[in-house]
Symmetry: C2
Subunit: 305 residues, 2 copies
């Protein structure tokens, strides 16, 4: 069932211990959509500048991603550059040029408004809310945020996530949002904020899903080589909601199969792991659904007891 | 089937964010034996001083731990004191008084020599080897080591673990021993050193088991409160080998059921998690096998998909 993805489409300059690239397609909406596109019909709402290259349009289009909501305006595309630490657990931002993204005001094409699935990449919470208000008949709304919004836009963020079915953040964000160091307690505080489902991403250490009555944990996939972790969290989000959309899950009704949620976490982990295998979204040029399902099976094989 | 545990029995002074104790039973052999005792007949080989208290003898004896190999000699018992960081992921050693442990030369009571299971806590590698040489008919030998032996006694350590069936270390030790940062690669290097099975403990992030042809991963149990992590790694070891001994597993023959190994990792994780719930070995005063099996089932429930 159709999914709307809202967020940034950007160019990144990256340096990891394995090399560097000066300009490569990036942005949360890019990674979420590329990942979700393996599971469900996916439509993007984002803004790019005049410099946005045809080959990048072609990559997205080759994944059958609906680009009617990808607005092109005068100016330059959002640009970010960063460098990773030797173990790639930390990264330093060198440059952030918002460019056309500074005035991003998401407008949904009319036919997107009745799509049942919505995932909101990390943008201003008020913008996230405005998108949700443009839609009707949603079965599932969720998204990401970051430390900046948690710290300086707390009230706005709380008002936004109150209406979400799931929140998907990393462990340090969960601690900051809840004021609790222990993740079990942090989860309990955050579930009181509105979302019925909380997913906490822990990078190489895996992920956890919390609901009022249950939780689920998965260790991180053991890659032989992490080439570039950029976008892995967003690819996790894309795999997670993409699978739920493929299954037609309805979190609104409360009648959701726990197994679907657990498997969505596994597909999220699978997509995040593939993302790390090449620079930027490079792995998605060749990745097949068959490879995805094989890694899903490998996850089962190495965690079942 | 009977298990011999060799290592330190000590007194610890501990400070965690939850409080402090000036003198509490500790030591690798203590924790391994207390943990393994829930699964199999367990015998300890260690040394204590004249100050070793009757109540601590009583605690071990109440777990039906065979203490014939617990030598008591003139002098004081090994003493260690340390303080944990606020998140308890780091600890600083304040004091280490080897005392009677400085001259520890493990001597096995005659009837221990034919026991089929042997686990060697973190002591001088040459001593670990001497114990193994005193035994015959072993179905399974394994143990722990630490950065000090890896760095300064490398050749001796390599000669020792060459004869082991399993090595059980933490992630930083695995990296140091192998010279590889990536744990999948580290495991491959270490498996070439002799042991057919490598278990890497990752503290709150869980554990991984590697063999030539397969691997298994489990996330860490999510405690609501980590009270004191002292001994958790040793309790993991005790649960791991205790379960394999209970099952009568024979790693020597190579005909070991993968499921037994995976479940041993889960029981190790379960025992490590209980250990953190009170100061020192306090939790073992009340812990029952029924509680252990319940947590094992909870692990299945929160990782199955």
């Amino acid at each position: 069932m159709s999914l709307v993805v809202v967020g940034s489409v950007a160019y990144d300059a990256l340096e990891t211990p394995h090399g560097r690239v000066d300009r490569i397609l990036g942005g949360a909406a890019t990674y979420i959509a590329l990942s979700a596109g393996y599971f469900t019909q996916t439509a993007v709402v984002a803004v790019v500048g005049e410099d946005f290259a045809q080959e990048d349009i072609d990559l997205l289009a080759s994944h059958k991603i609906d680009l009617e909501g990808l607005e092109r305006v005068p100016g330059k595309t959002f640009f970010w550059s960063g460098v990773y630490s030797a173990d790639m657990n930390d990264r330093t931002t060198l440059q952030t040029d918002l460019n056309v993204f500074a005035d991003f005001n998401p407008k949904l094409p009319a036919r997107y408004r009745s799509y049942p699935y919505l995932v909101l990449g990390n943008i201003q919470p008020a913008l996230q809310r405005s998108v949700r208000e443009q839609m009707n008949g949603l079965r599932l709304t969720g998204g990401d945020t970051m430390n900046y919004w948690i710290k300086d836009y707390r009230d706005e963020l709380l008002a936004t996530i109150r209406g979400w079915d799931f929140l998907l953040i990393n462990d340090s964000e969960a601690r900051m949002l809840s004021g609790q160091h222990n993740l079990r307690r942090a989860a309990s505080v955050i579930l009181d904020m509105g979302p019925s489902t909380l997913v906490i991403k822990r990078g190489e250490y895996g992920a956890m899903l919390f609901r009022r009555d249950s939780y689920f944990m998965v260790p991180g996939y053991l890659l032989e080589e992490v080439f570039d972790p950029t976008g892995a969290g967003d690819c996790f989000a894309g795999g997670f909601i993409g699978y739920l959309a493929e299954r037609g899950c309805d979190l609104k009704s409360g009648k959701v199969d726990r197994r679907d949620l657990s498997r969505a976490v596994i597909y999220g982990s699978v997509m995040g792991s593939f993302c790390c295998e090449e620079f930027g979204p490079g792995r998605f040029r060749t990745l097949t659904r068959d490879e995805i399902d094989k890694r899903f099976a490998e996850f089962r094989d190495c965690t079942e007891f």
